[in-house]
Symmetry: C2
Subunit: 280 residues, 2 copies
């Protein structure tokens, strides 16, 4: 569980770091960023995970996410992993921004040639948390998760499968039903194969239909998001929750698009919302 | 004074735009960004100018500056110009990050081959303000100015030369005495020639020595800034103010470096400080 420090910068009273480590799950070097707010010696802080969207690395949210002021205020560690394995040994889909590198979809692939390296589910659910616990002042009994777009899908599915581990789940413009939309059908079909039953644990709407529940879900979606109608289909999450008799706070934000200009607008509110639940 | 809209994104309740126009001063197309907070129909908002540092365009602060929440809260328009003329017709110093494109130093060059295009002083002092006044809900009677590094030099010198126009001046890790440091000696020497008397109006310390004054100056400087000792030399500004019997708030921020992780930490405080003076 040794990690290498790529950079550290003092910011908002804490330390914004970028780190790398050798992942047994992906068989590659993985890079991630961690913001640790100022804290008392020996204190352990709760952890908010942020999963990024298609084409992103840890860097997009680290530079543009505007989370540090809120994390410093509430005393929350912020962890931003990469979105796929990287490197020359990792198979990729050239010229496809929505599959392969930068598009791991937070699954453990079962199909060849993806199965060896594309193990982002196990990486996020097991391996990276161990590295965080071993190297940062993190209270792993207090975790929450959020994400954007493909990463919103990741946050919802990982959170719904692990409600005991994550006290709250939020998402910015998530893909809520990948089985039903082009991005998801392509990715799940190629990573997992044609048996759609195997896709259901990677689909937030299907997970809720199949009985998964979480009492604390918050979703923000911009109404001017070009991907809303075809790829994100936020209303499917609302319908699934209604049908299941469970609750989620799903907000449509007028005039906002799919960019970090949207995410950064509501980031402080999400951090505060998670922090409230992490302090219980 | 027509401008072209490159992009607009809703953010923090307002509109973050990127625009371009044909500049008569530089003889090129110039790009800049403007954030306009939500406001009442017909309202005119005060303007905070942000001048960027070496190698930057408008984009760095627009993406990483974390100013929008504070500008929205205080109702301040934020304008971020480019740092030099651009394009194939503009002479450049290849492989020199600190001269030529991206390094206009906010001067009107008098030496060849720079004099034709490198007119960032007149562009910032006259031409761009007219474009802002003509195209945005800006109250040009209420302006303030800030900037980073080379842009901190720009903010201090432009502000000190125009105290009636700018109600307050702030800077993040500014070059305070370019005549005395390698970055400045190189740039001023090549843009303005060897007569150092002509450099003094582009040097904050020299301007104060020569009688320029401003009642509202705020500077933040990180102590872990790699450029502090050789290029920035913040103490020279303090010394010049002391010798002149004038006041400036100069703060050393422990552990902070030269990056946007530093700028973004103190940005909200600078915006609030300017806003207080813009509301008088």
């Amino acid at each position: 569980m040794t990690i290498e420090t790529i950079s550290t910068n003092r910011s908002h009273g804490g330390i914004q770091g970028v780190y790398s480590h050798t992942s047994a799950e992906t068989g590659t070097t993985m890079t991630f960023s961690v913001f640790v707010p100022e804290h008392a010696d020996g204190a352990k802080l709760p952890v908010l995970w942020y999963l990024s969207g298609l084409t992103c690395t840890h860097a997009n949210v680290t530079e543009k996410g505007e989370y540090r002021a809120a994390c410093a205020e509430h005393g929350v560690i912020f962890v931003a992993p990469d979105t796929s394995p990287r490197g020359d040994d990792v198979p990729d889909a050239e010229d496809e921004y929505d599959f392969g590198k930068g598009a791991g979809f937070y699954v453990d692939a079962t199909e060849q040639p993806w199965a060896a390296h594309y193990r982002m589910r196990s990486y996020i659910e097991h391996e990276l948390p161990e590295a965080i616990a071993a190297n940062f002042p993190a209270d792993m009994a207090r975790q929450s998760i959020t994400g954007h777009s493909m990463g919103g899908h990741g946050a919802l599915t990982i959170g719904l499968r692990n409600p005991e581990r994550f006290r709250s789940i939020s998402a910015f413009s998530p893909i809520v039903a990948p089985s039903e939309v082009p991005w998801g059908e392509k990715a799940l079909g190629r990573y997992l194969g044609t048996d759609r039953a195997s896709w259901r644990e990677y689909d937030a709407v299907a997970l809720i239909e199949d009985g998964a529940r979480h009492d604390h879900i918050l979703v923000d979606q911009g109404t001017a998001d070009d991907f809303l109608v075809e790829q994100l289909r936020t209303h499917r999450l609302a319908e699934a929750c209604d049908a299941a008799g469970t609750d989620a706070t799903i907000r449509l934000q007028a005039g906002y698009d799919h960019s970090y200009y949207f995410i950064s607008t509501f980031m402080a509110e999400h951090v505060a919302w998670h922090a409230e639940r992490l302090k219980l």
